[in-house]
Amino acid sequence: MSVPDLSVNIGSLALKNPIMPASGTFGYGTEFADFFDASLLGAVVLKGVSRTQVEGNPCPRIYETPAGMLNAIGLQNIGVEALVRDKIPVLKNIGMPVIANIWGRSEDEYVEVAAFLEDSKDISALEMNISCPNVSKGGLEFGSNPQVAAGLTSRVRKVTSKQLWVKLSPSAPSIAELARAVEDAGADAVSLINSIPAMAVDVETRKPQLANLIGGLSGPAIHPIAVRMVYQAARAVKIPVIGIGGIASVEDVLEFMIVGAAAVQVGTMSFANPLIFGELIDGIYKYCERNGIERLRDIIGSLDYARD
């Protein structure tokens, strides 16, 4: 048998494998350079940027929970101008697609950020975050209502010729309806799930564990919820679905793909194991070899419903 082909496509964008870091867990693409060669990744997804610099929420911003963590960073970022000026030039020779994650505190700001990046040739796609649980504006208010999400998607669609991915919230009443709404509004792909709004309390002091009170739960604890939502979204839309949520093993990657994800993003677990990206790519390669799979993309949406 020939060497397994791990490449996948997100619309017209070809990735050499389905493994990407998740936005907000990979900095601006260079922070992991001491650990591994980032060019092995399918693509990089950068920390979310807004029009201007944002300081984010007060500390404590993180708290570990069983098999997961809460974060309420509050989308701290350097702003889109600094991203283009200082960060993109460093990344452009890495030799793989660079995805900019964008957000705004108003619909206008989303449009401004997308428009600003239009001339940045080194950015292959925009991932629009309409689902951050940790900012009062620019987060869930755009992401939980299909009509609002569709309206925002179509406004950003008009100012960008790049691929437009929309990152969806697990708080949506119907993920299928939300995914269809942004598809109809011009999204090229949907990525899900963002972290799940959650909370923890120190019982000795009776204080919240996060200064922001509520944060987003991520990590292996949320993986089965993410698999369910990726499955529902993938059945609802024709555009590619990108699976995100608690990937800690090769099996977690394959699970997402079998229920319909064309690619995946890995986040929280890379804090604990910065080498996880290479381990996952190696692992899916061996899975293909072991199972005689010539093209990894053939397993996308291959869920077998038949009971034995």
């Binding site: 900095g27 993180i62 708290y63 963590m69 960073i73 929280t268 804090f271 604990a272 194991n273 910065p274």
Partner: protein
């Protein structure tokens, strides 16, 4: 900064809930600068999920080419209690060395190190280095009670003047170590401090009026330790007086008392 496969050489319980852990790495960490730290985690586990930041205590190889080192810690939560159950031969993994450590270039002829509780561990490496270069070093070591002052001998063995403080008076001087510092701030000295946030603040309030800008090592919750999670920020003051967030893991863990926005 490297990702390291570690094995436990030995672990010793000291007092009620303190541990001295010796680790060996599968490859060299290079030089461990005084005041740097490592993120220690459990391979193959998702609970506890995240590694824990731990200050390097001792580097156990010569020639700035460390493969063996020690950590001192207190078992207080899920991760450290699990670590406390580990035995020689058990595997851990680590990311390190991390952070900038103490600024050794600005140390004066005489240094006072102020340690609160487990905040003692990052002082061994700088103390050894300063003593070897002929400088005078004094340790003020404070904790709640005598049972918490578990690493006193290691420092006395270096030949340091060591003064103990306990809040309950069970040994040494009764009171806070930060209060004890005031009586020693004479002459051209450096102050290095590590301990709880309140202690670091009091030390700064004591030192700055006396013309000494203390170096403070901060402990914060961290998920990654290398600058991406943005979970460990503290606020510092810019030259222009504006405050801004910086990462304790990357820009710290040591900051000047004068730059911290308390």
């Amino acid at each position: 900064m490297k990702f390291l496969n570690l094995s436990i050489v030995s672990q010793r319980k000291i007092g009620s809930c303190y541990y001295y852990l010796v680790l060996k790495s599968d490859r060299s960490l290079g030089r461990i600068a005084p005041g740097q730290f490592i993120m220690l985690g459990f391979p193959g586990r998702i609970d506890p999920l995240l590694p824990r930041p731990m200050g390097f205590f001792q580097a156990l190889d010569e020639n700035n080419n460390s493969t063996s080192f020690s950590i001192g810690y207190v078992a207080v939560g899920k991760g450290t209690n699990l670590l406390a159950q580990c035995k020689a031969g058990d595997k851990l993994r680590g990311t390190g060395p991390l952070g900038n450590g103490w600024n050794m270039d600005v140390i004066k002829e005489k240094t006072i190190m102020v340690a609160g509780g487990i905040g003692i561990t990052p002082f061994y490496l700088p103390a050894k280095e300063l003593i070897q270069s002929g400088k005078k070093v004094m340790l003020l070591y404070g904790a709640k009670t005598a049972a918490d002052l578990v690493f006193e001998d290691e420092f006395r063995d270096l030949g340091m003047d060591t003064i103990l403080y306990t809040e309950d008076g069970s040994t040494g001087t009764k009171g806070l170590v930060s209060e004890g510092l005031a009586g020693h701030l004479d002459g051209d000295i450096s102050v290095l401090a590590c301990g709880p946030g309140g202690m670091l603040k009091r030390i700064t309030e004591t030192c700055l009026p006396a013309g000494v800008d203390p170096q403070l090592s901060f402990d914060r919750r961290m998920a990654c330790g290398f600058g991406v999670c943005l979970g460990c920020n503290i606020t510092v003051k810019n030259m222009d007086g504006k405050s801004k967030y910086v990462r304790v893991c990357k820009e710290g863990p040591v900051f000047k008392g004068s730059e911290v926005a308390w």
